[in-house]
Amino acid sequence: MPLSLLLTSVRAYVHLACHGLLLLACGCASAETLVDVDAGGSYQDNLTRARHREDFRGDAALSVFASAGRIIVPDGMDTVVLSGYAHTEAFQRYRELDHLELGTSVSYKHKLALGWAAAWISAHASLSYDDHRDRLRDSTRLFGELELGRRFRPELDASAGVFYDRRYDNHGESVVPGVSGKVFDLAGRGAFVRCGYELSERLLLGSRLALRKGDVESTSQRDFDVFLASTAITPDTAFGDMRLVAYRIDGLTRSAELNASWAFDSRSSLNAAFAYARTNADRGVVYSDSTSSLIYAYRF
């Protein structure tokens, strides 16, 4: 994306985020300010989400996530969190994947009774713009989630929910007559369960299982099965290999994540996570990827 256009987009989103937050937070004298910063690194073994090992591209990335917002508590049972956030990743080898995501989010949580053990329901929505070095991946993202949870003991909580994600792509060019080129125009919906257990005063263990049905993007060399299973195709130059083509495929993705969080104090923690995902699509197309990460989190 040209720099001027990028700056215009970024400014527009920042303005939108700031105005939205100011409007919604005004008049809430008791609102609390929330500022979080995360920084760390990750390694993903199959960034291309390729089917065959020769098309796998793994890489490490440094990431920074920052969010600022307001927590509004209109009454004892309801909490609204309005925030703006920025997330950036810089890759070691595949620099075209470097990106900056700017977004706003709103979360609403309702407790069904008094006390820490009360069940709760929550709704979360976010809207962001994700700008990559590689123009093909530039997109607007929309995410929504409904969740029901409960803390069973002070050290044990669990929740389950459903989500919807949407990614809008206006860049992919069609190279196959009659087949869309917008491979990053993706939509999916799914469900998840998660739980957390405090092993000690400092160590929190967590897990999350999810099932998602919807579009996924896969980059590989020309593959007949993938071609037949795909709903969009376009050349992908982000990995510096002109043989690679990006495909959009409809599939069922199962994912599992294990994480551990070590609290240094009430404001900071070190978080390690391992996530594995496996997608099954039509015509026997299967691929998997895993991500390991280590992130330091600080809350001001």
Partner: protein, 221 residues
């Protein structure tokens, strides 16, 4: 179960040393540690006269603050019948509650000082929480006896101005891994003298809702 009780009982040690004090009353110097001799702060020491003759004084107003989204002090001891206010010194509102049998109450979401204090008219332990900040936990120990004290960081507490007579002493601590009754011991307070009592308590980890952040901005509210 019997073994555990026996171990807990064996863990209790008592030493009685009498030192000269001026005046017509005596005092008890209590020392509370865990089994590895580490001083235990916030242990509540209660002395109940065996003859039941208690000089019930006026019941002052007490306070349990909320500072930096924590109860301050974390452990408060009050005499039965006392009133306690819960001033909120944070810039955010709190909703203090307790489900404890000794006192069930709820202070609807508030900032500043609530208009009405809470009366604690039944002896026992009252566990406090905040409905907005689940990690907040505090304890009010409502004593049936006016003779009580709370240990400091050094694990020591002094019960001064005790009329000379025999007392049953007991200890409570948030991490106590035994019944309060199992900590009981009898001690004779002598006029003008100091009596020492010591406990080595078996303690357990008490789980608390975590406050620290989790990557991704999660982990709170």
């Amino acid at each position: 179960m019997h073994t555990r009780r026996l171990l807990a009982t064996l863990a209790l040690t008592t030493t009685l040393v009498h030192a000269q004090l001026p005046g017509a009353s005596g005092e008890i110097q209590a020392v509370v540690t865990d089994e590895s001799s580490k001083p235990l702060a916030d242990a509540v020491v209660i002395a109940v006269p065996i003859d039941g003759n208690m000089r019930l004084t006026s019941r002052p107003r007490d306070e349990v603050d909320q500072v930096d989204k924590e109860f301050t002090p974390r452990v408060k001891v009050v005499l039965v019948g006392s009133t306690v206010t819960f001033p909120n010194n944070d810039s955010v509102r709190h909703q203090v509650y307790s489900f404890s049998p000794a006192k069930r109450f709820e202070l609807p979401l508030y900032a500043g000082v609530p208009p009405e204090p809470v009366v604690f008219n039944k002896p026992g332990l009252v566990v406090l929480g905040c409905n907005i900040h689940d990690w907040m936990v505090g304890y009010i120990y409502v004593s049936e006896s006016p003779y009580f004290a709370k240990t400091g960081l050094d694990g020591k507490a002094t019960l001064p101005d005790l009329p000379p007579r025999a007392y049953v002493l007991r200890v409570w601590h948030p991490q106590l891994d035994a019944s309060e009754e199992s900590t009981q011991k009898t001690i004779e307070v002598v006029r003008g003298k100091r009596s020492d009592a010591a406990w080595a308590l078996k303690v357990k980890l008490v789980a608390k809702v975590r406050r620290a952040p989790i990557a991704g901005g999660a982990g709170r509210y």
